[in-house]
């Protein structure tokens, strides 16, 4: 366990050595909220009360999603740069290696999402300790699930990086557009709703909003959302553990 923590700490130190990404992430979050969020909430008006708050949570889901994508890219980048074979020679189990990657991902996600979350909750006067903790838990579980998907997809990069990047871009577009990240299920056309319930972001977004006290009539059942988010985190991490265990040996990124 000590070795796993050492490896995770090493990765996190590398992450913290360049804080530009964090400042940029927070600054862009603030810009989008101040301009896009405020103007769209004026345009939408009473058709969806408090759209500004709805959108701010959606934007946090995007930050979580992008952080999880980062972990996948980091994994592929390690393979591309030749660091992955080195990590595999370390006296650490494959599952321990995956746990260290997951810890790196969690640190990356929490550092990017916690300050905006606290700022939004403080400004909207919704800041409560239980709400914040449960919202962070929901975002953490969602982040783990998406990380699992991204690491599982990395086997594509072992065949061709370009195809991996294309799949990632296409998948991201579909998962975000066909979800309740920026609009609730209630306003979606009937023919899009069945696709929307297949996106893990739908459950993560609605669960976080429910914890933060958004009007439940626009959200999915929170119990269902919690079960799905947890199930996705467990299943995709198990899948990625299997991939790391069986497929990764001896591969190199094309």
């Amino acid at each position: 366990m000590n070795r796993v923590l050492n490896l995770a700490a090493f990765n996190i130190r590398v992450l913290l050595s360049d804080p530009t990404w964090f400042f940029l992430s927070w600054a862009l979050f603030a810009l989008q909220l101040a301009v896009y969020g405020s103007l769209m909430s004026k345009l939408i008006g009473s058709n969806l009360p408090n759209y500004f708050f709805f959108y701010s949570i959606g934007l946090m889901i995007i930050v979580v999603f992008e952080s999880a994508e980062d972990v996948g890219r980091h994994f592929v980048e390690n393979a591309h740069e030749g660091e992955l074979p080195y990590f595999l020679t370390l006296p650490i189990s494959r599952s321990g290696f995956l746990v260290s990657q997951a810890m790196y991902g969690v640190a990356n996600t929490l550092l990017k999402v916690a300050p905006p979350l606290l700022a939004v909750l403080f400004l909207s006067e919704n800041l409560t300790v239980p709400g914040t903790l449960f919202a962070l838990l929901a975002l953490f579980l969602l982040g783990l699930g998406i990380t699992g998907i991204m690491v599982s997809l990395s086997f594509i990069a072992f065949k061709a990086v370009d195809i991996y990047l294309a799949v990632l871009a296409g998948l991201s577009a579909l998962l975000v557009r066909f979800s309740t990240v920026f609009y609730p299920l209630a306003v979606m056309p009937n023919y899009y709703s069945p696709i929307s319930v297949l996106s893990p972001l739908t459950y993560g977004a609605d669960l976080t909003r429910w914890f933060l006290g958004f009007d439940p009539k626009y959200l999915l059942n929170p119990v269902l959302a919690a079960v799905v988010v947890t199930a996705i985190a467990v299943s995709t991490l198990s899948l990625s553990a299997r991939i790391v265990d069986k497929i990764i040996e001896g591969v190199k990124v094309a």
């Binding site: 360049d18 530009t20 990404w21 940029l24 600054a27 862009l28 810009l31 989008q32 301009v35 896009y36 405020s38 103007l39 769209m40 004026k42 345009l43 939408i44 058709n47 969806l48 294309a166 871009a169 296409g170 577009a173 579909l174 557009r177 066909f178 920026f182 609009y183 306003v187 979606m188 056309p189 899009y192």
Partner: protein, 233 residues
């Protein structure tokens, strides 16, 4: 190309459609030309990624052994960005015309050279950031900041009137002179509303795009020249 098209299509057929239901049916027609403009932006700024990769992977060293002058290499990159933007946005415009009926197709053809100039300007801006990105992944920091700020502070998603009504004056002015706003306005007015081409908008488009193209070309030329003289950027 297929991925880019699918991204823009999902913006048009999902995001615009749902936002149209939340705001008003007219909002869909308003947003579609904006999405075409964002598509042009995405395709043109891919030039920055290609330059960054060429510098990072050392492919640029190979380019410099080719029987072509440094300035020729620079112009080729900027023009390829411009052409990429025009080809991609034209394809999107054709697809968009099935969703929103264009009122004046002739104006769309007249706008192509202006879109080309805009795309070279955006390619130049991306080339500038790629050229000044000296360490690791910093190019992606610039690229993301460029994309979010240019698209957010523009009239792609909301009208100039809405911005002026709710946000401070300087932000409204930036949005007015943002090349993406000018292109979106030109498409909305001339192609989808059938009005005459607005020469003020078009001249503003040229005035904002050409300096960006020149800036990018200069930055890339300087980096290539340094590479030729010193052997490293």
């Amino acid at each position: 190309m297929a991925v880019l098209i699918s991204l823009s299509l999902s913006d048009m057929l999902v995001t615009a459609l749902v936002l149209g239901r939340m705001i008003s049916p007219e909002y869909f027609s308003f947003l579609v030309p904006g999405i075409v403009t964002v598509g042009l932006f995405t395709a043109a700024t891919d030039t920055g990624r290609r330059i960054w990769l060429a510098l990072r992977e050392g492919v640029v060293q190979y380019y410099m052994t080719l029987p072509i002058r440094t300035s020729g290499l620079v112009v080729a990159y900027i023009i390829s960005g411009g052409l990429g933007g025009v080809v991609y946005s034209s394809a999107l415009l054709i697809i968009a015309s099935f969703a929103v009926h264009p009122q004046n197709i002739f104006n769309a053809i007249l706008l192509v050279p202006f879109m080309f100039v805009l795309a070279t300007g955006l390619a130049g801006l991306a080339a500038f950031f790629a050229s000044i990105s000296r360490r690791g992944e910093i190019y992606w920091v610039y690229a993301q900041a460029l994309q979010v700020s240019l698209i957010t502070i523009s009239t792609v998603f909301y009208s100039a009137k809405t911005i002026a009504q709710y946000l401070p004056g300087p932000i409204a002015t930036i949005a007015d002179y943002n090349p993406l706003s000018l292109a979106a306005t030109a498409l909305r007015e001339s192609v989808f509303s059938g009005q005459l081409l607005n020469t003020v908008v078009l001249s503003n488009l040229l005035e904002t795009s050409l300096p960006l193209a020149a800036l990018g070309a200069l930055a890339y030329w300087v980096i290539l020249r340094t590479l030729r003289l010193r052997g490293k950027p």
